[in-house]
Structures are given as structure tokens and as C-alpha cells.
Point group: D5
Chain length 149, copies 10
């Protein structure tokens, strides 16, 4: 269902490479965070019409493609429930290994509820380290308490 | 296979509640980060014998239980491949939605490789916010480039 | 993981039957909605300590059981991903048949985002009807817009 | 098997956008409820030939497409048994969390049987709320008692 | 969840064998059809309290067991989604082979809708045949038209 | 593997509609039962060359299509192991709910063995009923005793 | 469901070892083929009461165990749909590799139908061979033509 | 991955039908056993270049097709892990029912090891029988003892 | 099915720890390779009665336990088809990533066939390395050519 | 997602055959190990731009294809979670049978951690043997200790 958006994402990746742009540069031009901009281009977030137009201008896309960028996607970017790609699998592994830990610690601090994956933002940065640089991910999601009605 | 360690985790949770301890307090006494200490108590990390002894002393555990804390676990804390608990599912959802984005951005910055889930650490904190406090997770994993041999 | 809470739910169901109580009556005594009270007793919601105590008093439960009622559950009440029980399956069928319709209509009205299943409440009532009474379910969940960051 | 109906649904969505119509407006012209009309256009319900003709006229569809709208679909709108899209997943989560609660409460009120998903109707509306508007879903399904023969 | 009812079913099967009873005889005493009586004893249907009492008397069961017979079951009698037992698999095979045929023929005759599995009854009989006796199953389910609302 | 036969089935359904034929009429012309004729046209049974020719003549099919009707299919008409279409799912549900009942009753009557799904026939008819007409399915399969060798 | 029969099978295996018996010897005493006798002892076939008694006498089993041997099992001896044990997996592999070949060849020789797995027998023997002895399996199943009704 | 070989197999089946050949006749011309020849044509075995050429000559295939016949296939001929086609399913059923029996008997006779599915051959023949002809399959696989190193 | 052997393996691990033995030391006493000895103790290989006796003597096991060590196991040591433990998952990942490479290279070198996992042996050693020691695994399996019969 | 790289791999295989090259020869020209070169050509590893250019020159590929060889792949070369191809399945079987053994032995030698599948290399060679040549695989992966933070 999301095939059109995914295909557009592949097209954008190629143009991005040709134009020799980075997500940081693209994000700066669009006035958004790099992770969100990348996710939107990959077809997993929807842009406002204004941002979609700017993006289309940047990559030389037509109106239909701009409209596609603004459309709410059928989310889910992976072909299998357990991802096979090692980079992505490591994140799945973190869920598997730390799942009950996150649950215990969030409940201790906030009570019964969840961390929102919708009212959510994230940054990714390079963390220089003598023993080898590190990937640093910072996630922030609103705590949503379970309503007791 | 990890049933003994999981059961010990449940026991620790009850003692922790009785003793009215927080993970931050426990972690401070053990000289480790709260997330790691919680994960180790939940049965997903192995302690050094020294840390295991300290933990046993803190919770009033016997020698066999201390040894169990030091044993390498058969990791994986969830009963199903796609987690049913909403708090944990939201993390799975992040993998599903952001998987290809993480891949694209890490490759742009670091080249072909992965973020290690082994040489990895994490903090969790409360992020005060007028519109509702937020859960802030900071993950740091060593970038491991694919060896070209 | 939720076995203790589920078992307590079964015990409550038996006492409820012996005491000849309805969920409406129980809910009135606890000051909550019947659906939520039932879900909490079935082990899928957590009560405040006060509500848990009242519930324990009502059903003659001990302190440990009261504490269990107040504990955040590992949610998920079904033994299989696709439920086999026909009553429950019909709801799964609604998701399968109406899923894309809900998506289309909520996006039209609210834009890109979701209906919260956390900041959520529900009522269930009998709707008298000459051709056979009907089950009326009213669900209300806060709309959460996807954050564009 | 339902590919033709789904593709037609995608086509209708595009025309609807061009014509700047809402489901409420479309439903009013067809004399049906918005949810049902949307579901029928998405390819999950079948129209009477008369409604199909009106719909075809409204969207400028040809006879074959009108016939398709009147055809009984192979129902099921989702590509996976557990939906990946967060909006739709939240409904799946409700089934997982509230499944046994619905069962308990319907049996208490009506005895052994089910809520029909066939003799069923539904409305969806915006529920204004200071803390953020809410999605309100009202479902009504005929209670069907298990025949004891 | 249905373990108690299933275990009771196994107990009944043993008593039935000891008492040398047939389902036809049991059914006659209870005033119901043999298939339904067997399904209820196997834990897949719920009896009225009166029938449950009669059944308990017939098999020498106690009050708690009688109550269990009257309880609505969490239905689903098979340990796997695709049954391994050859007798039961053949029925699964019929669904797989004839599924689209049933759909086509019921829609031709009745329009869009389903055959109810709730307002449903069934008989099973031996059909003498020179080339080998046959199993004759007669199923009757109310046609339920999809509501167009 | 069966794609060609399924596609031919879809073509036949369209011609049947144009010609305004019923399965009963088609079956009468071919000298077979309606259920079998429908199943064969849907691509799940193989016709004799003679019947295939007659069918081809009736629907205006060419020689290659006639040959296809006579070819033994790779059987299985459903895209998923658990069917999503509600009409077909109800039959799957019957297998799930009545599976152990059928097993118990056939073994009581016939001993250890199965009901054949190969030496099998079936009729489907409308059963008029004041409370709503019913679908009546009569299945007959040869009992096959397990060989003790 | 078959747990009792499987456990009895394990018990028989131990007695068989103690008594130093072979399946050929056991089969000879019971007047049946070794493969069938082994399958019946493993809990996958049902014996006649006479054979069950003889078997019970041979292994020193009590009456209840003899009755169990005569009971029709819920068949399926493997814990997973795709077997993990290499010896058994090789047979699964043969089905996967030769499945379409068997289908093609049986249809060529016999027409549309199947090889019965019920009216079926099998022998297993050692085939001496200089390059290493071979396992020789001979299977014989009645051809069952698809009924055209 | 094996799509080209499977498609070639379908082409060969059509030519075989046109030329009115049997697998026995084809096998005789190629100097191999019919089962193996059929499996190779279906795309599950690889021919030597010489046999591939002979086969190409027999069926009028070009050089690229001959090369394809000689290529080692990505084996596995079935679209699902549990086959839906009844003829093939019966073999799966034999694995499920007899799996533990084969294991027990091969271990008794040969010790710990397996029957090779690689150093393996098979014949299929019609076994005339008054009560209905039978399919006779004879399989022979080298016993491979587990190496104790 | 293998539960007894797995439990014995856990017992051996505890004794091994108490006795402060390494697999290399144990293997030397038994006259076998460490990997094989470890696998046999973990319940995945069968010992000869002589080795089983020696092992029993070494660990202070009784006769029944010695017999268990000599019994052919129902192989498969993992609770899920895709392993969750990161150490074991990495090997699964190698199969997923290198599967087609191994196939291509073995076929180039040896022709169509497989590497035996039965006539197979393996060593594991520490490979000192300035940048961090490495795990070195050497596997050797007999090439088995596909028989062309 | 990796379809383009996989298709390119198939193209390279054909050219390789035409040019009559071996992986050893190709690897020598590229200055890398044969296993890695093969994996990169099969689309599972990414080349540096320089190596990609050399490879393109060797096989007569265009610039876009060279760029594709340098692109990081969405890894995972197999169509199913449990591979059906026997050559590849044997490696899956080794994971299933030896998984817990590897875990035990690596933990004994190195402590809690894993063998990297990223900082990893491998060779494959023919091991001449009188009883039949063997496939020898040597794997070397950096040991990564679990960080205790």
C-alpha cells in the first residue's frame, strides 16, 4: 500500500547522491530535524504541503510526487516481522533484550503508561571515541499515563 | 532456558518493593548505571562475581542466587516475536517505522556497518515538559564497520 | 509473565459469581466505569492502591492480592495472535475489514496521527431492538497527531 | 483476489481529493452512513447496483467499475495478520488488551453468544475536548446467542 | 484458558466409556442433538444450568463441574492453527479447497453475507454404502446478510 | 502454480454474469452437481476432457482453456492459512470449534479412521425459515479405516 | 492431547530396552508389521483391544495402559511444523524437493487423485551396500481418485 | 530464485503433453530413472551437461534452456511450509505421523545417524490390487552415522 | 522430547563448575574433541556406552544418566526457529547473509551437492589479536554429491 | 529492497560462466578473499568505489552497476526464515544443533559476549580425503564482550 511512497524514497536517495547532499543539509533547508526529514523521504512520515513543496523543489520532483510526500503513509518499513538486515536487527535485539527493563524503569519513574511513539522525536549523532566512534541516538517520547476511567 | 534467571528477577522486584528502593539507589550502591543494573536483575545481563555478591547482599540472596546473577543468560526477555505489551510494542514500532531511516543515516555518516548492541550503553531519564513530561532515552553503541577482507 | 494477575482474575470471577454481583454494581462501589473495572480485574489494567484496597475488601482478597491489582501488567490477554474464540475473533475481524477505512476517515478528519489506546475509555451497553437486542460499544480515544520535528 | 476492488479504491481516493469531497458529503449523496460508504469505496463492502451507479456517477467511473463496487469482496484489508501501521495497530491492541473483558461483559449481560460483525453498524465522530479532541467510535452489533440444539 | 473445561471433557469421555454410553443415548436423555451434546461435553459449548445438572447427574459429577459445563468457553479446540490430526485436517482441507466455491455459491443464492456459525446446527450420521459406508454431515446455518447502513 | 486456473475461474465468473447463468443451470447442462461444477470452474477440481469441452463450449473458451479445465490443480484456494474473508472464516471456525467433536463422534461410530475429502461430495441449498432462510450444506465422505498392517 | 499416549510410548521404549527386544521380535509376537507396531507403541496408531492386551502382557502394562493403546490418537508426533531433528527433517526435505514430482508422476499414471495415507502400509529394511548400507523404505498407499459428482 | 527453472519445467510439461510422452519413455531415452528425470525437469535436480543436451534435443529447447537444466537449483518446490495440495499434504502427514517411528526404527537398526536425502534414489510404480490399485514408492538412502570426533 | 537430556546437560554444567573443569580437560579425559564433548553433554550428540560411562564417572552420574548420554537425541537445541540469544543469532545471521554465497562457492568447487552436517567435525579456538582476540571456528564436513540415478 | 543488487548478482554469475572465471581468480584480481568477493557480487556486501570499478571493468558493467556494487545492501539472502535449499539448510541445522554448544564454549573461553558477524572473515577450501573430499570452512570473528556500564 505504501509502495508508491517507498519508490519515491528510492528516487530521492538517488537524486540526493547525485546532488551530493547530506540529511543535515537537507534538513536545514526544510527547517526540520535530519531524522524526521529522512524518515519522511523514506515514506514513513507525512510532510505538510509546504514542506512537501520545498522538498519537491529541492529534488526536482513534480506536483504528484509532492502530494505523495504530504500523504499519510501506511507505516511499517520492513519486509519481515523480524528484520534480517543486521543494522536494523540490532535494534530489534535491543527491544528483545531490554524490553522488560524499559517497562520496569518507566513504570518505576512514571507509573503505569507508555512512552509515545507518536509525540516523539529523535536525534542521531556521531560520538567521537578513541576506541572507535559511537552512534548516539537520543529519543524523547511523551509519557502517556493509562487513563483510569 | 533462562527461566531461573527470570524467576530470580521477579523475586528481586518484590524485595525491591518491600525495601522501597529505586534503581537509581541500587545502581549507586553497585557502581553501575541504573539501566544496566535493572537489566542484569531482570536476567538479561551477567554481573561480575563481585557485583553479584554485592547485589546478593543488598537483596538478601543466597550464594546460588548470586552465582545465577553472574551467569551469562540465554537472552531474549519477551514471550512473542512481536511483543503484545503496549509499552514494549511502541519500541518495536519504532524499529518498524524508523528501521530504514536508521540504516540510511548511519550509512551516510559512518559507511557500511552497524551500531553494536554489545558494546552499548543507555540511560533513561525524565524530561520535564509543560505539555507532559517525557521519557528520554540516550543510546550509545560503537559503530562497527563491515570488514572487507 | 502476567500469569499471577490472570489467575487472580479467575479467582475474582468465581467470587463475583458466588456473591452474585454485576460489573455495574462493582464499578459503582469502586467509582469507576464497568469496562475498566472488569479489565482491571481480568489483569489488563492497574488500579491505584486505594482502588485496589477497596476491590480487595469487596472480594475478600489479602494484601498481596491487593498489591497485585495495583501492579502494571504485561498486557495482552489472548493466547494467540489471531484469536480463536468467536466472540473475540469478531473484533479482530472488524480490524481486518475496517482497518483501512478507520485510517482513511481519521486522517480526513484529524490529519496524520492515531487514536490513542492509552488515553482511552469505553462503555458497553445493551441496545434494545425489536429484531434482537444489540451490543453497543462506545470508544473514545484522544487523537494524537504525529509530531513533525 | 480483491486486488481490483482495492485498486478502484485508490482511484476513488484520488478523485475524491481532486473534487475536494468529504466522506460525509459523499455519504449524504448516497443515502448511507459515512463509515459504510468509505468501507465500500475501499473495497470491503458491496453496494447495491443502485448505490453503485450513483457512486460511479459521482466519481465518473465506467460501468465495469460500477459493477465492481456491487460485487461481494474477498474481505480483509490488511497485508499482515498483525497490522504494522500504528493507527490500525492500536485497534488490534484494543482487541489484545480488552478481548477477555469484552467476552466477560457480553456474556454477563447477554449470555453465551457473540456480537455480530455482519449485522453491524458504526459511526465515527470528532469529540471536542479541551485537552485535545478525541476520536469517538460507536459500534452496534446484533447479539447472536449460541443456538443450543 | 479453557483448560478446566477440556480436562472435564476428558473425564467425561472416560466415564462414558465405563458406562458404555453412546452420544445418541446421552443426547436423548438430555433432550438435545448428539453433536451439540458432544461439543458441550468436550468443552466447546455451554449448557443451560438445567442441562448441566442433568449431565452432572448422568456422569456423577459434582456441583463445581456442573457449573463448569454451564460456563461459556473460550472456544477453539485445537492446539495448532493448521490441525495435525488427519481426521480433523480433512475438514481444514475442505475449507482450503472449497472456500472460494462456498463463497461464490452462497453469494449467488443469497447475496452478500455469511452463513452463521452461531445460529447453527449440525447432524452426523452413518450413510450405508456398498462401496464402504460414508460419513454424512448436515450443517444448517442462518444466512446473515451484510447490513448496508 | 495454480494461477492460470484461478485466472480462468475469474474469466468464467464474468462470462457467467454476462450470460446470466446460475450454477444450477450450468451444472444441469454438464450433468454434474452444482458444487462440483463451481469448484471445477474456480480451478480446484479437474474435469474429464469431455466435460471440459462442454464447459468450453458453454462459456466460449478456446482449446487451451479447455485443456486447463481438465488439468489436475495444485489445490488450495486461499491466500492465507487462516482465511480473512468472514464467509470462509466461519467454516474455519467450525473446524476449530467442532474439530475434537467430529473426531470423537466419527471414532465412536466407525472406529479409528477418517472421513475422506477425496471420495467426497456435497450439496448446498436454501432452507426456507421464518426467522430467516438458512444455508444447508450436506457433506458425504467415505469413511476410511486406518489400516492395521 | 496425545500426551498420555506419548508418555506411554516413552515407557515402552525403556522396557523394550531392558528386555532387549527388537521391533521385529515384538511385531512377530503381535502378528503385525514392525513399522506399524512401532508407530502404535509411539502413540500414533490405535491397536485392536486384542493386540493392545497382547502388547500390555508383553511389556507388563496395566489395564488402563492397554486401553490407552487401543484408543484413537490425536495424531501428529512432532513439536514443530518444520521438524528440527535431522533424521526427521530429511523426510520433510524429500516432501519439499520431490513434492511437485510426486504430484506430476502420480497424476500421469493414475489421473487426478491422491495416494492414501490411511489405507497405507510401509516397511523399512537394511539394504547392504559396499559403499555403506542403505535404509530402504517401501510405502504403499491406495490410489484414491477425486470423485467427480 | 528458482523461478527460471520452475518456468522451464512448466514449458516442458506442455511439450511433453503435446508429444504424448511418458516419464518412463523420457527416462529411457536419457538413461536415468523416471523419478529423477521428472524431478530434474521440474527444476529440483541438476543434469550433467550431456543429459541436459539430450533433454533439450528431445523437447526442442535452446542452449540457454539446456544450460538451465544443468544448473544446481535453489531447491524447495512448494509455496508454503505446510503444503496445501492434498496429494502432497499426505506425504507431509506421513512425516508428521511417522516421524518419531522412523527415528526409533532407524536408530535401532543402524545406531545414531540419518538416512541421506542426497545419496538417495526412489522409484514409483503402480501396484495392481483388486480393492483398488496402489501407489508403491520405494526409497533408498545411504545411512550416514553421526561422526563422533 | 529431549527434555531429559537437556536437564542432564544443565546438571553437568553445574557439576563442571563445581569441579572447576574446562571442556578441553574433559575432552582430553574422554578422548574426543572439546566441541563434540560439549555438544554431547548439552544433549545434542549421543555417546558410545563406553564414553557415556567414563563421562558418568567423571561427573558422578548414575547408570540411568549414563544411559541417557548414550541415547540418540531428538536434536534441535533452540526454543525458537529464529534464535533470540545474540551469540547464537549471529550464527543465524551468517546463514542468512552468506547462504547464497556458500551455495555458489561449494557448487563451483564440488558441483551439485551439499556439505554434510552429519559426517562433520568442528574445532573452536582463541585467536590472539592485538585489536581484540578472535573466535576461530573450523568446520569440516564431507561433500556429498547429489546422486543422479 | 535488495532486488537490484540480487539481480546484478545473477547477471554477474552468467558473465562469470561465459568468461570461465573462478572466484579465486576474480578475488586475486580484486585483491580480496574469494568468499568476500563472492558475497559482494551476490549483493550481500558493499565494495569500496575502487573495488567496484575494478569489478565493473572485469565483468563489463556500466557505471550505475558499479555504483550498485558499492552500495550498502539490505542484507538477508534467503526467501524464508528457515531455508528450504538443502545445502543452506545444513548450516541452519548446525545453528540449531550446535547453538547452545557454541554459547557454552565461547562463554567458557571468553566470558559473556559474542563472536562478531561484522568484524568477521571466512575462507572455504577443499580438504582432500580418501573417504571423500571435505568442505573446510574457517570462520574468524572478533570476540565482543558485553559492556558492563
Amino acid at each position: 500500500m505504501n509502495d508508491e511512497k517507498t519508490a519515491l524514497g528510492q528516487k530521492i536517495l538517488k537524486i540526493k547522491k547525485t546532488k551530493n547532499l547530506t540529511w543535515t543539509e537537507i534538513a536545514a533547508k526544510l527547517g526540520h530535524a535530519p531524522v524526521w526529514v529522512c524518515a519522511a523521504c523514506m515514506g514513513q512520515m507525512s510532510m505538510t504541503p509546504e514542506t512537501a513543496e520545498k522538498t519537491a523543489a529541492l529534488f526536482g520532483l513534480d506536483d504528484e510526487e509532492a502530494a505523495l510526500l504530504a500523504q499519510a503513509p501506511y507505516r511499517g518499513s520492513l519486509p519481515t516481522a523480524v528484520p534480517t538486515d543486521p543494522l536494523i536487527y540490532r535494534f530489534y535485539e535491543l527491544v528483545s533484550v531490554y524490553g522488560t527493563t524499559w517497562k520496569e524503569m518507566i513504570h518505576e519513574e512514571f507509573g503505569d503508561g507508555i512512552m509515545s511513539a507518536i509525540d516523539f522525536d529523535m536525534t542521531m549523532e556521531r560520538q567521537p571515541d578513541q576506541k572507535g566512534d559511537r552512534v548516539k541516538l537520543t529519543m524523547s517520547g511523551k509519557f502517556l499515563p493509562y487513563k483510569r476511567y
